[in-house]
């Protein structure tokens, strides 16, 4: 889709700039005249939403960094000071804390979109792998950010997660001591987490730039999963998708605002309003909601090392996904069996989230184990085998045809 540029500088200044630093040309080619499949649905708006989320987190985070104190004796009080004394500090801190949840909500929907419509398949494997890298960076950033307020959940979350590394044979303890900068989670740990929490969003920003660059080489996948064949399959990005993305962003911001203004602590834990106490663990310790499915996988396996491996493996398997799925058909719209397997996969992920939020006893434990099993079976057995045995439904000849066959009148550009 990255064809020859159609940008024509109109004024003398634009021509002067274009022959020196073609920044306007880059923006024009990637956000104005960029040819985009005409059949994208609202599941495709999460890319723009996620970019906005990253910007919101960086802007609010830089502001919070002006007031936050990374020291075990002052961190908790400094966050309370931000909420009570700093002008609009309550607003900015709540946007940042809830922004993390909104970011993960959007990224999970974005990932499910990619899984359903086969956006990881050739020629988009690199886009997909860069996306997995972004997800890992987001998880690390969110975890370290959650430690900074230095409440009970912050502290014990840091203890548990850093203890994952003690599961590594032979060198585990040495690595954990290195991460802590001591013999337990303490002030050196808090300091380095703050430093890295400030750094990683900019690393994410860089990988997002690569993600978008890699996207703009083959162009967008689409609900039909067909490659663009002619100009009739596409519309210019502006105004068609700027407006569609803009509308989705407004809806997303309404949901975001409901949390920030009416339910600011609904996604957090009351225990985090108790200052960190290294001598007492809270009775019910659970991670933030967006880590619950991975927490459930960890707890499903009654072996320390295997549990940690399964948890990291649940993300690692995504890297191999482009080669695990043997089907040549991208969109599950045309894969009747795989479609049902995917729907069960989504249910399994939600079940993992539920299991992660409850004590691993009785039915919850077995539900978590069943969902964990299905999670890996889906990637390691179902997708490889289905691609060989499933008979896909007939597909339209082109994206333009798929729009017509969908029972909608073909959109005609206004002028």
């Amino acid at each position: 889709m990255a064809g020859p540029s159609t940008y024509e500088p109109k004024s003398g200044i634009e021509r002067w700039m274009d022959s020196r630093l073609p920044l306007i040309r880059l923006g024009y080619d990637s956000m104005v005249d960029y040819p985009t499949p005409r059949n994208l649905n609202y599941w495709w708006t999460f890319g723009g939403i996620l970019t906005l989320c990253l910007v919101i987190q960086i802007v609010t985070g830089v502001v919070l960094g002006m007031h936050y104190v990374a020291h075990v004796d002052m961190a908790f009080d400094s966050v309370q000071r931000i909420r009570r004394d700093v002008n609009y500090g309550w607003l900015i801190q709540y946007i940042h804390a809830n922004g993390a949840s909104m970011f993960f909500l959007a990224v999970y929907l974005h990932i499910f979109r990619g899984l359903y419509y086969g956006s990881y398949k050739p020629p988009r494997e690199v886009i997909w792998i860069l996306g997995v890298v972004i997800l890992l960076l987001m998880m690390a950033t969110a975890f370290m950010g959650y430690v900074l307020p230095w409440g009970q959940m912050s502290f014990w979350g840091a203890v548990v997660i850093t203890n994952f590394f003690t599961a590594i044979p032979l060198v585990g303890d040495a690595i954990t001591t290195l991460l802590w900068g001591g013999f337990s989670v303490g002030n050196p740990t808090l300091n380095r987490f703050y430093s890295l929490h400030y750094l990683l969003p900019f690393v994410i920003f860089g990988v997002v730039a690569l993600h978008i660059w890699a996207l703009h080489v083959p162009g967008n996948n689409n609900p039909a999963g067909l490659s663009v064949k002619s100009r009739a399959d596409t519309v210019p990005f502006h105004p068609y998708y700027t407006v569609k993305d803009g509308f989705a962003i407004i809806l997303f911001l309404i949901l975001f605002s409901v949390f920030v203004f009416y339910l600011p602590d609904a996604l957090g834990h009351a225990d985090n309003y108790i200052p960190a106490d290294p001598l007492k663990t809270p009775e019910h310790i659970v991670p933030e909601w967006y880590f619950l499915p991975f927490y459930a996988i960890l707890r499903s396996i009654p072996n320390k090392l295997m549990g940690v491996l399964a948890m990291f493996g649940s993300i690692g398997v995504l890297v191999a996904l482009p080669w695990l799925d043997t089907s040549k058909v991208r969109s599950m719209r045309y894969r009747p069996t795989a479609r049902w397997c995917f729907i069960i996969f989504v249910i399994a992920c939600l079940a993992l989230g539920y299991a992660g939020a409850h004590n691993p006893e009785g039915i919850n434990l077995w539900m978590g184990r069943a969902a964990t099993l299905y999670y890996f079976v889906y990637f390691l057995l179902l997708l490889p085998i289905l691609g060989l045995v499933e008979k896909p439904k007939p597909r339209p000849a082109s994206i333009a045809d798929s729009v017509k066959s969908h029972g909608e009148p073909a959109a005609t550009p206004a002028e």
Binding site: V63, H67, D85, V86, N87, Y88, I92, E415
Partner: protein, 185 residues
């Protein structure tokens, strides 16, 4: 964008699409400016900083001919117990010859009975040039204060007499709570 549309349709009336473009653009710009304000205002002093805006000082222990420096809003405030000679020297100056004309009495705050106490001089110890703390205890050619940064000299009333500073050392808001205690701020 409305210009481009207007160019295409020539003399025609503005269309509904023009209206939507302008309304949407106005909403984005207006909303953007409103959303920006909290991110600017957060840099202003916070409530706990504003709560530190007054300082009470016992002035009874300052010997004649010496000064103390107290901190008010993070800045030094000089409180000098002046000698008779210093007061006389401050009153002997021709006010009209000063860069920032002020009599010595204008630089004092009366006590609750309305009486001036010229022996007690209170002023911010911040040079009006670029904010350094001037040296005191009769420093400089005018026996008052002298700023080591760029050579501004202040007299025994803290008025600028020589050097690059434009104004006299500022007098902070203060009041006598009793004979011995003043509250600054």
């Amino acid at each position: 964008m409305s210009d481009a549309t207007a160019g295409q349709i020539g003399d025609q009336e503005p269309t509904r699409r023009d209206f939507i473009h302008i309304a949407a653009g106005a909403a984005v710009v207006g909303g953007g400016v409103l959303a920006l304000w909290p991110f600017i205002d957060q840099m202003n002093p916070a409530a706990d900083t504003l709560a530190l805006s007054t300082t009470e000082v016992d002035i009874s222990q300052i010997p004649v001919g010496s000064q103390i420096t107290v901190s008010w809003r993070g800045k030094p405030v000089f409180i000098r117990h002046r000698t008779e000679e210093e007061i006389a020297e401050a009153n002997a100056v021709d006010v009209s010859s000063l860069r920032d004309p002020q009599t010595d009495d204008e630089r004092l705050v009366p006590d609750p009975e309305g009486a001036l106490r010229p022996e007690i001089l209170v002023m911010e110890g911040v040079c009006t040039h670029f904010g350094c703390v001037p040296l005191g205890d009769g420093a400089g050619p005018f026996d008052g204060w002298f700023c080591p940064c760029h050579g501004s000299a202040y007299d025994t009333s803290g008025r600028i007499r020589q050097g690059p500073a434009p104004l006299n050392l500022p007098v902070p808001p203060y009041a006598y709570l009793s004979d011995n205690v003043i509250r600054i701020g």
